[in-house]
Assembly symmetry: C3
Homo-oligomer: 163 residues x 3
Amino acid sequence: MTLQERQPERTTIVLFSGELDKAIAAFIIANGAAAFDHEVTIFCTFWGLNALRKDEAVPVKKNLLERMFGAMMPRGPRKFGLSKMNMMGMGPAMIKNVMKKHNALSLPQLMELAQEQGVKLVACTMTMDLLGLKKEELIEGIEYAGVAAYLGDATEAKVNLFI
Amino acid sequence: MTLQERQPERTTIVLFSGELDKAIAAFIIANGAAAFDHEVTIFCTFWGLNALRKDEAVPVKKNLLERMFGAMMPRGPRKFGLSKMNMMGMGPAMIKNVMKKHNALSLPQLMELAQEQGVKLVACTMTMDLLGLKKEELIEGIEYAGVAAYLGDATEAKVNLFI
Amino acid sequence: MTLQERQPERTTIVLFSGELDKAIAAFIIANGAAAFDHEVTIFCTFWGLNALRKDEAVPVKKNLLERMFGAMMPRGPRKFGLSKMNMMGMGPAMIKNVMKKHNALSLPQLMELAQEQGVKLVACTMTMDLLGLKKEELIEGIEYAGVAAYLGDATEAKVNLFI
């Protein structure tokens, strides 16, 4: 037991979903774990990769299908919809409004806090390839890796969630 | 290994989803784990918190937005829809019918069994605040906590699921 | 630690979802874990059980409700839709097209690889009962078990995901 106690706990989250409520849940858990001194990895894959996109369009070379994917998917966390009660975009506005009133952190603020706390944000390189997203289109301070690196972290962690 | 064998195993589930099929899956896993003498925690957050609502309306003081959230979200597990093939509410009726024929426990029965087996049902206090749900509106015999308490349990568990 | 190091690591995945993108994510993680010599179990339950269905219709005796379920749910991984941007079936075609261009394995290929690597695919017998799916309708080389067997594997694993 002593050996284990010396090592920090680890938490990993696969952020698969590109939805406001699920991403908020992921970053609240990640920030909580980081506050407990866990080493935390959020592996952003599939639709979840959109959380790492910059708000603004970045001029990069893309083929037609990549341009289509880029246009159809939300550009950054501010554009995320809800998994439930999206109501043509009214739901996210209501949730954001209510979170503001309760002084709860917004998703972009939760992400900023996560980065400040040393949470490792990883962009899934396979998803980047498939959807044609380039490094220039993603936010700063993140890492780039594949499923092997994720599994390396997850195998050393006890709390492993798929969101 | 001997030290570990003396401690009971732990299982935690974050119930994020407010859908019949996912909640059934969560409570089947929880009851199974409890039958194996695991200490089980179900942390009900976001839409999953609705599983802990009483069937009937409870008169509590709410502002307009809280009343709207309360009215739009399902009041208790009997009102849950399906994540797939909901078919305007016909899907849940079909599933419930088929479960009855096979003598499978309904969601309310699975929840009752979970409480009898000592599964710890936790209402996420942050979600209660945001959606304006009061303790009087939730079922008896549950605990109230935040993400820190969840992480405390999860860190001691090997089976941690996000549903 | 020495005792633990002699045992292989374990990874379990509950495949609850019957959607192309989520199933692809599940099998990519499973194949990655198998490549790292983990013992991997994918427990296919609820809609995820459809991943184990054969492509062709198999003549078995069913009642009306079972025939309805059988007809409404996708028959095998080739029929899966997307959880996002399904766009009346155009989304899956686009994703499949893009995966082919990048020489990424398709879901049926990922499943074949998983079986070759010794990933244990388990059909949830409770779901089979409820939805009226018979062994003859499912692919070869899989196991049949309930939640108890899943929990037995999960309790020995560190990476346990619900997808």
